[in-house]
Each structure stands twice: as C-alpha cells, then as structure tokens.
C-alpha cells in the first residue's frame, strides 16, 4: 500500500492526489491489475482511469481485456494445483498419524523402563504434533469445501480428499460409477472375492471401502451398513459430477443422505 504520499495503486497504475488527480499509467496492465491493494479510495477509479485512457469505452475495453486475461491465467493455475495441494495435505496427515502413534508407543516403552526427563520433552513433541494435526485437518476441510463442495458436504473433508486421492483426480472420480466409489479402498478384498467366484467358490464382495469411515456407515449396525454404503456412494457419484462440472453446492444431496441415515437408524 502506498498511501503515504497520497498515492494509491489502481489496476492501471498509480494515482496521486495533489491539486486534483495525477495519473501514472503502468506499462504492464496485467501486473498492476494484480497488485492494487488499497483500503478505501478517496476518488473513483473510473474517473481517474478516464484520464489515463481518454474515454469511457477505452477504459472499459482495457479493463475487461486485462481482467479476462488475468482471470483465465489464475483459473488455469488454480485448477492445476488445487487437487494436488489437497492430496498432498492428506498424505501429510497420514504420515503425521503414523508418527504420533509411533512416538506415543516409544514414550510408553521408555516410561516403563526408567523415569527420565527426556520423556517430558518427548511428550511435548507429540502434543505439538497433535495440535498441528488439527490445523492440518482444518485446512483439508476448508480446502475440500472449496474445490469439491458437494462431495465434501456429504462425506466430510477428509474422506472426500481420500476419495479424490484414490481416484487420482476429480475428473476420474466424476466418471466413476457409484458401485466403484462404494468400494474405493477395498480393492484387495473385492478382487479376492472376484477371483474366488471365478473358481466357482462362494464369496462376498466388500460392502464399503473408504466410505466406511463415515459416521453414518460406521454408526449403523452391521446389517444396515451395506444399504447405507450403497445409498451414500450413489449420492457421492452425483456430487462428484456436480463438482467436476463446476456446479454449486446442492444442499438437497446432503439432506437426503441425512434422512436415509435417520430412517435406517430407527428401523
């Protein structure tokens, strides 16, 4: 912010207030467009811009062209990096979970053998890790809400991110049938069952993969879990497609999943 000399950053350059408006037009509009942070301007950007561009139509023509160029570039960049960012956050979360478990175990081992001032320090590290884990989970939730709002509203951020990770990309997740989404993460037992069936033996295919971690499935008695998993997977498949094709959050989907859970719980 460069308000010190009564100068302000606008998308087309610097504007200074000294006996009226003095405009210093930027040589690179795309650059100045992306670095024009101010608080409230004491003049209209458009009035100042008319001085720089000569006419209203020229002003808007340049503004629109620059805005479109910048927006297209940003969209391209964000869409590329968004999914990868979410997936790497999730992987970090898994590693940290492993770390916390491992460390807690070691602490117990040490404590059992001898009283040591080191364990105090060690405990502190683990508790810091736990705090960090919470931050990480929050970031996963808020980011998932942003890039896959429908899937994460049904599944929750972490499970949604995990589905995305296993599928590889949102594009792939969106093109999966519900039955595949239902058993993502249980491939091993699925293929075991299939190969048994091929040999003519009896086998049961898995009812749920990753989505088992969802409280709506885990929270039901065993007999009802398959039904819930099937239903949720069907809605997740729809949600993934809405998200992929740039749709907005559709509350109805969550609502019917919630309702279904309520029904199954009562019965």
């Amino acid at each position: 912010m460069s308000e010190i000399n009564n100068c302000y950053n606008t998308w087309f350059g610097e504007v200074c207030l000294e006996d009226g408006l003095k405009v210093f037009r930027s040589k690179n509009l795309k650059e100045s467009f992306q670095s024009c942070k101010n608080w409230k301007l004491p003049f209209s950007v458009k009035d100042a811009g008319m001085i720089a561009f000569g006419s209203e139509s020229e002003y808007y023509r340049n503004l629109r062209r620059t805005a479109l160029q910048v927006a297209e570039e940003r969209v391209r960049k964000e869409l590329q990096s968004d999914e990868r960012y979410l997936i790497s956050l999730l992987k970090a979360l898994d590693e940290i979970d492993l770390g916390i478990n491992l460390f807690s175990e070691k602490i117990r081992d040490i404590e059992e053998t001898r009283e040591s001032s080191l364990t105090e320090k060690f405990n502190q590290i683990v508790s810091d890790l736990k705090t960090f884990r919470k931050d990480l989970e929050n970031e996963i939730n808020s980011h998932a809400e942003r890039i896959i709002p429908n899937v994460s509203s049904i599944a929750g951020g972490v499970i949604a991110a995990r589905l995305l990770e296993k599928a590889g990309s949102l594009k792939k997740l969106a093109s999966m049938p519900a039955s595949t989404i239902q058993i993502i993460g249980a491939e091993k037992s699925l293929f075991k069952a299939i190969s048994r069936m091929k040999k003519g033996k009896k086998a049961k295919t898995p009812k749920h993969g990753i989505i088992f971690q969802h409280p709506y499935i885990r929270g039901l008695p065993k007999k009802k879990r398959g039904k819930m998993a099937r239903f949720m997977a069907a809605k997740l498949a729809i949600a993934a497609r809405i998200d992929f094709y740039g749709g907005e959050l559709n509350e109805e989907l969550v609502e019917i999943v919630r309702k279904k859970y309520g029904e199954l719980q009562e019965r």
Partner: protein
C-alpha cells in the same frame, strides 16, 4: 409466443404453448440449459434466486445502466440474466472458487458488460483498485460471515443511496438453529447499517432461504 408483461428492462413474462414463464430478452445463446424461444431466454427460478424473488411477486428496481458489484457469481446463471437486464450497465463479478469460475469465464468472454474477478469477497481491499463506486451490490455467497462481507464491500464500493440484495441461506449461517431465528438475527444485523426495503422467502424454489433488499 407472446409477451404478457414487462417486469424490468429486457425482462418479461412470456406465454408459449399454453405455459407462461419468466424470461430475459437476449441476443446470446442459452447458457445453463435453459430454453430460448425467439429472443427470449427462460429465467429459471429453481436455478436463480433472483428469478425466485421476482416470481414470488417482488421486483427490485434494477436500472439498465446501473453499475453492479456481484459477490459470489459462481458459474454465472443469475449473472447471465443480469447481463441482459443491464445492457448499458456494467457488472463487476467476484467469485473465489476457480471451478465454477471456469464456466463463468465463457459468459464473461461473450458479454461486454461483465468484468470477471477471481477474488475473495472477504478481502475487498484486494480489488479496491479495480472496482469503481457502484449503484448496486448483489450477494449470494452462503458463508457464515456473509453479512460482515456484505457490509465491508458496501462500505468500500456502494455509493450513498445505493441498494443491495442479499441472499441468505439459514443453514450456512447456523445449521443448528431454526431458520426463522437465523433470519431474525440477519435482519437485526443488517438494520444496524442499512434501511431494509423488503425481505421475503424463496419457497417453493429454494428451501430455507430469504432475500433482503437494503439501501445504504
């Protein structure tokens, strides 16, 4: 096909084959799967909350040469019709999420009255050097702090006497309270800074939503 009633600039109730619907007159092709009969693009109330407001009997006056700031433009369903209405105005369209914005950019490319901004509406300082003082702010962002976001944007960009429409979804403000309680809270918050011209529900098109029309 015949026009039954004019509602706003380029906005009509038209009748076609025994059914009547809301539409905007447009020289552009359909954008979100709506039908187009002659020059008239159907404005679907189940897709656009502003259409729901109008079909429920309230039409905020939106002038054709207005300068508008649109917060939460998403993929541009409503914006496509506002662009028809404001045929000599301008729309600064802000959206934070890149996924729907990609679709919206197709619209922004073809419509000369749209300035697309991929920005966070809760950080208006980032686009204060771009957006001129506006006559109207339309907000549809379903976030917990959306009223605060509206107020800061109004403080920065809305001229005195300018108006705004805020779409409020009860669940996104507080999912545990009764919608009516949430709406009362929202109205009392808005009353501190604005005159409330009108508010109402969006049933049957959108559940647990209200619109609030305010003036600065």
């Amino acid at each position: 096909m015949r026009v039954i009633k004019e509602i706003l600039n380029n906005t009509f109730i038209v009748e076609h084959r025994d059914s009547s619907f809301l539409a905007t007159k447009s020289r552009y092709p359909p954008f979100y799967g709506e039908k187009k009969i002659g020059d008239y693009r159907e404005w679907k109330a189940y897709r656009s909350k502003l259409a729901a407001v109008i079909l429920n009997g309230y039409t905020p006056s939106i002038k054709k040469d207005a300068v508008m700031l649109y917060l939460g433009v998403a993929s541009g369903t409503t914006a496509s019709h506002l662009s028809d209405i404001l045929d000599s105005g301008i729309i600064y369209a802000v959206e934070y999420s890149a996924t729907p914005f990609k679709k919206f950019l197709e619209l922004a490319e073809e419509r000369e009255n749209i300035i697309p901004l991929l920005e966070d509406a809760s950080k208006p300082e980032n686009y204060s050097g771009i957006v001129e003082p506006v006559d109207f702010i339309y907000q549809d962002i379903s976030q917990k702090n959306q009223i605060e976001i509206f107020s800061t944007n109004a403080d920065l960009f809305l001229r005195d006497g300018g108006e705004g429409i805020i779409m409020v979804k009860a669940r996104s403000i507080d999912s545990t309270s009764e919608p009516s309680e949430v709406f009362n809270f929202v109205l009392s918050e808005l009353e501190k800074f604005f005159d409330i011209l009108k508010h109402g529900g969006l049933e049957p098109f959108h559940k647990d939503h209200i619109f609030v029309h305010v003036r600065k």
